[in-house]
């Protein structure tokens, strides 16, 4: 999964509040201005001042006198009304049907069944819930106004806030219940479809069903491929859920017989003359991201082998990302982008492994971690480091070989002038290009302690947690390339420690909170727009805002300009210029001739694109609220982003309630 942003809630909050206040202030000014215009048109310019000031003056008491009982009464009515419309029921039936029959069309034996299922339920839930929110909110108020039932409401001491809030809360409650139901059903749907057991495919469920592997060729008779170097015999399981696993019995040679090594998968224990012990263990080879626990009871050929439930699905990996990534070039000078390797260069920055002429390159990528603490890891013996590196091979290097990378750990003293530093030896590893590989970094690292002046204090084995990160929880990791003439590329999301997994249900819940946020915004938007628009217009409006909202970053990207104010990302200029090019059949690369006409076009384009950009501040960035990718790829939803999503949602709700209040208050109900 590619992440490009690492927002921190507290850093985001200040500017976020400022932006909200700014938008509210601009909204208030625009509202006053247009309100005055409309009032002036109706009552004349002087009376209009009185009308506008009255609306403003009544707003404060209206908000203060909002009564919870009235809001709840309105919410209750909204719920009854929506239930009567059966939108919620129909939504649920569609969902239930797609869950019932959707399973038939999904291949649980495919490569990544978990991803397919999660993607399906989350995408489906999101679409259904958003559509339902739009439908129930868009119909409600316009229908009340059309039926004139609103007359008996607004002639009671009901504030417009209460009408708007009550509806948002009522529909929100319904949506929440529906979403929760759908979430729980989806959870069990995925669980049930992925959960399965296998039997051994053979005459018996014992070790006797395993066949020897030819020790010359070391090829499997089942898959025809090479097997692990220490495998002795193999078997296969029955096909369940569309797949079968290969089972292996392999040798595990240990220096002594230890209590901790006596696990349930041992078929045979052989004590050798030299004091070492060979265990024959059974294991299940992974398929599609999961495997099964193997349990052996008894010993020898008559030992029965049984397989447990699937493990490996439903992960919520918790990456511990670095707070900062810095690149250093060949001469050890800091530089924020890394070495330029041409087209590849962009997302990833590259470090080089030196050249034949200059072996001692200082090029490296330095990741700085904070709060590096043993309690964040599942196993205190090692810290799993996951890396996903890009490799740029130059033909001068050895193209056949895997490129070797090096890792070095360093402590970061608060006060480098007086404190000693821990520096580890470089740990080398073979890179698996463009796939995630896990490197278990042992807790004990060979290294040295260096005094502030650079002199060696001591050499030895030091603890990653208590020595390196012991003083302040900070740790630096330098990635270098150990192969001459090759390059390794990485970005901040590419290198992370893998902390304790979060419980899957919790992660699933967090993913649904994202959908909930989107739903609440859609509902509030529908209610706010329906205070002054008719149902079809509300729907069109909300859908238009959704389209902007789902493409926020695209639009903001479109509107990027360089220092001279020229559009950066557009060949051939903005919409008008492009249209002129189509009409005049000019190619997009050539600049338009300079002249009055084209200057006007350029300015108009600039305006058009910037007003689009302005729109993106009014429409929520729905992708910012969508966490399904985290779940699909098995990562824990980032708490910071979740907090931001909830805050963004609250801000939108506030703005929409205000907007709905003023629109309803200034609306002539009986017109």
């Amino acid at each position: 999964m590619v992440r490009e942003e690492f927002p921190q809630f507290l850093e985001w909050f200040g500017p976020g509040i400022l932006l909200l206040l700014g938008v509210l202030a601009v909204g208030a000014l625009l509202g006053l201005f247009f309100g005055y215009l409309v009032a002036a048109f109706r009552h004349g310019p002087f009376e209009a001042f009185y009308v506008v000031s009255q609306v403003v003056a009544e707003a404060v008491p209206d908000f203060l006198q909002t009564s919870p009982r009235r809001v709840l009464a309105m919410a209750g009515l909204a719920i009854k009304e929506a239930l009567r419309r059966r939108v919620v029921l129909v939504t649920f039936v569609i969902f239930a049907l797609s869950i019932l029959f959707g399973g038939w069309f999904m291949d649980s034996g495919s490569d990544k069944p978990e991803q397919i299922y999660i993607n399906f339920v989350m995408w489906g839930t999101q679409m259904l819930v958003l559509l339902m929110g739009l439908l129930i909110s868009a119909f409600s108020l316009p229908e009340d106004i059309k039926n004139k039932t609103i007359y008996t409401i607004v002639t009671k001491p009901v504030r417009s806030t209460e009408i708007v809030l009550g509806r948002i809360l009522g529909f929100g409650f319904l949506g929440t219940v529906l979403l929760a139901l759908m979430g729980i059903i989806s959870f069990f749907f995925i669980w049930r479809n992925l959960d399965h057991k296998h039997m051994i495919d053979g005459p018996s469920q014992t070790v006797a069903a395993f066949v020897e592997i030819d020790s010359e060729t070391m090829k499997s008779t089942i898959s025809g491929k090479r097997v692990s170097p220490n495998a002795i015999s193999e078997a296969t399981t029955t096909i369940d859920n569309g797949h079968a696993h290969r089972l292996e019995i392999y040798q595990d040679i240990r220096s002594g017989d230890d209590e901790a090594l006596q696990t349930g998968d041992i078929v045979e224990t052989i004590k050798r003359d030299d004091g070492k012990v060979t265990y024959h263990r059974a294991r299940c080879m992974p398929v599609g991201g999961h495997t099964h626990k193997v349990t052996v009871s008894g010993t020898g050929a008559s030992a029965t082998v049984s397989l447990g439930p699937a493990i490996g699905y439903f992960r919520a990996r918790q990456p511990i990302y670095s707070d900062e990534l810095a690149f250093y070039d060949r001469d050890g000078v800091k530089d924020d982008k890394g070495i330029n390797v041409g087209k590849e260069w962009g997302y990833r920055g590259y470090v080089d492994g030196g050249s034949r002429g200059n072996l001692s390159t200082l090029s490296r990528a330095k990741f700085s971690f904070t709060n590096f603490d043993a309690s964040r890891f599942p196993d205190a013996d090692f810290a799993p480091l996951e890396v996903n590196l890009g490799v740029f091979r130059s033909t001068k290097g050895d193209i056949e070989e895997r490129v070797t990378g090096g890792l070095r750990f360093e402590s970061v003293p608060e006060n480098p002038d007086v404190e000693n530093r821990y520096i580890s030896e470089i740990v080398e590893f073979e890179t698996a290009e463009y796939t995630v590989q896990t490197l278990p970094v042992p807790k004990k690292l060979v290294g040295r302690i260096v005094a502030p002046d650079g002199s060696l204090v001591e050499e030895g084995e030091y603890d990653l947690f208590s020595d390196f990160a012991g003083s302040n929880g900070k740790l630096e990791l330098s990635l270098s390339c150990r192969d001459v003439n090759q390059y390794l590329g990485c970005a901040r999301p590419d290198v992370y420690f893998r902390g304790k997994d979060q419980p899957f249900w919790w992660n699933f819940f967090k993913g649904y909170v994202g959908i909930w946020c989107q739903m609440m915004i859609i509902i509030a938007m529908g209610v706010a727009l329906s205070t002054f628009l008719s149902t079809p217009l509300v729907m069109m409006g909300v859908i238009a805002i959704m389209i902007v909202g789902f493409n926020t970053s695209f639009i903001q990207n479109l509107a990027k300009v360089d220092e001279q104010g020229n559009l950066l990302n557009e060949f051939g200029g903005g919409p008008i210029a492009s249209f002129v090019r189509i009409l005049t059949q000019q190619n997009v690369m050539q600049d338009l001739e300079t002249g009055v006409f084209n200057t006007v076009i350029a300015q108009a384009d600039y305006l058009a694109i910037n007003s689009m950009k302005l729109l993106t501040y009014l429409a929520p960035d729905f992708r910012q609220l969508n966490f399904s990718n985290y779940l699909v790829y098995g990562f824990a939803v980032d708490d910071q982003q979740l907090l931001i999503a909830v805050a963004v949602t609250s801000a939108f709700l506030l703005g929409l309630v205000l907007c709905g209040y003023f629109c309803l208050k200034t609306r002539e109900i009986a017109k």
């Binding site: 009552h43 039926n147 039932t149 607004v154 002639t155 001491p157 109900i669 009986a670």
Partner: protein, 330 residues
């Protein structure tokens, strides 16, 4: 003088003419020249319906001046489309006046706070059809922020009062027109309002129901409430209203006490018991001596119907405001 501490505050000297100061105390403070005896005051109230483009469609109400005093039953009369409902909607803030202003219970008509003390029965009962009578009244009770216990008692009392005891658990969509009207009235009374606006209260009611409605209106007046009703059923208006205003095509044509409006000033009626036939000739002679022309002796008063039809005929012949729609009660 009341003993209420709030009313005795120095900023608000006790008003000797005020009968009910308790509930209006807050309003008196916000509006210094508020006379608690004037419940509704409309000045130059005008409503022009416009279409989307702001073009004038209908001038539904034209420069209406109106004053309704506390404790009276005020009737708005007029043919269909004369602006009665428009007036009531303006008083409720459901419509915004094109010009002029309306003050209700001392507050601007668009202010929501005044609704605390108002009950409104719309032309048709616009209620939620999927609720039953109890749920409906309970819901509206909540909108007045009434606590649950008060609500329960009030709901039961009102259901009995409007005679829906047998149908209180049925959904409103099953109700007949008259039943809907009754629950509509109950809804308007849920907050025990001081001012009740009734838009054609008797429409759809059977003769018995009409009678009950009229009795109820009179009873409410006796409880000290102010009632504004509009209707084109003249008998109803004549029976219950203390004062009426007659509207025609948005113009106020006539306003005054019902009894004085119906007094035919150019005529004299002589009524006597056991007068022998022979006396008629003598009386006739006396009348002729005094230059009188009319010679029927048993002529009754005119009915409201006649007055009404006369005004309508007259107005069709000479459109525009009547020369002096002065309040004849004063």
């Amino acid at each position: 003088m009341t003993t209420d501490a709030a009313d005795a505050a120095p900023s608000n000297p006790p008003n000797s003419s005020t009968e009910a100061t308790g509930a209006t105390g807050r309003l008196e403070q916000t509006n210094p020249d508020y006379d608690p005896n004037v419940v509704i005051e409309a000045q130059n109230l005008t409503k022009v319906y416009r279409d989307f483009w702001g073009r004038q469609k209908v001038r539904a109400l034209n420069a209406l001046d109106l004053e309704v005093r506390k404790g009276e039953i005020f009737g708005l009369l007029g043919p269909n489309g004369s602006g009665k409902s428009t007036t009531i909607k303006l008083l409720l803030g459901l419509l915004f006046p094109t010009s002029g202003r309306a003050v209700v219970l001392g507050e601007n008509a668009t202010n929501v706070a005044k609704n605390e003390r108002i009950g409104y029965l719309p032309e048709e009962s616009y209620l939620y059809k999927f609720l039953n009578a109890e749920e409906t009244l309970d819901f509206y009770g909540r909108l007045f922020d009434m606590p649950a216990k008060v609500r329960r008692e009030r709901v039961q009392a009102l259901i009995e009062q409007v005679g829906l005891g047998k149908a209180k658990r049925r959904q409103l969509k099953e109700y007949s027109k008259g039943m809907t009207r009754r629950i509509g009235l109950a809804q308007a009374l849920i907050n025990d309002p001081e001012l009740i606006l009734l838009d054609e209260p008797t429409s759809g009611l059977d003769p018995l129901g009409t009678r009950e409605m009229k009795d109820m209106i009179l009873k409410l007046r006796d409880e000290g409430k102010t009632i504004v009703m509009c209707s084109h059923l003249l008998a109803d208006v004549q029976d219950v209203c203390d004062r009426v205003a007659i509207l025609f095509q948005g113009d106020l044509k006539e306003m005054g006490r019902v009894d004085s409006l119906l007094k035919v000033s150019g005529e004299t009626q002589i009524r006597s018991q056991d007068l022998p036939e022979s006396a008629h000739a003598e009386i006739r002679k006396i009348i002729e001596q005094h230059g009188g022309t009319n010679i029927t002796i048993e002529n009754p008063t005119t009915t409201l119907e006649e007055l009404f039809l006369g005004i309508v005929r007259d107005s069709e012949a000479r459109p525009g405001m009547r020369s002096a729609p002065a309040d004849k009660s004063s």
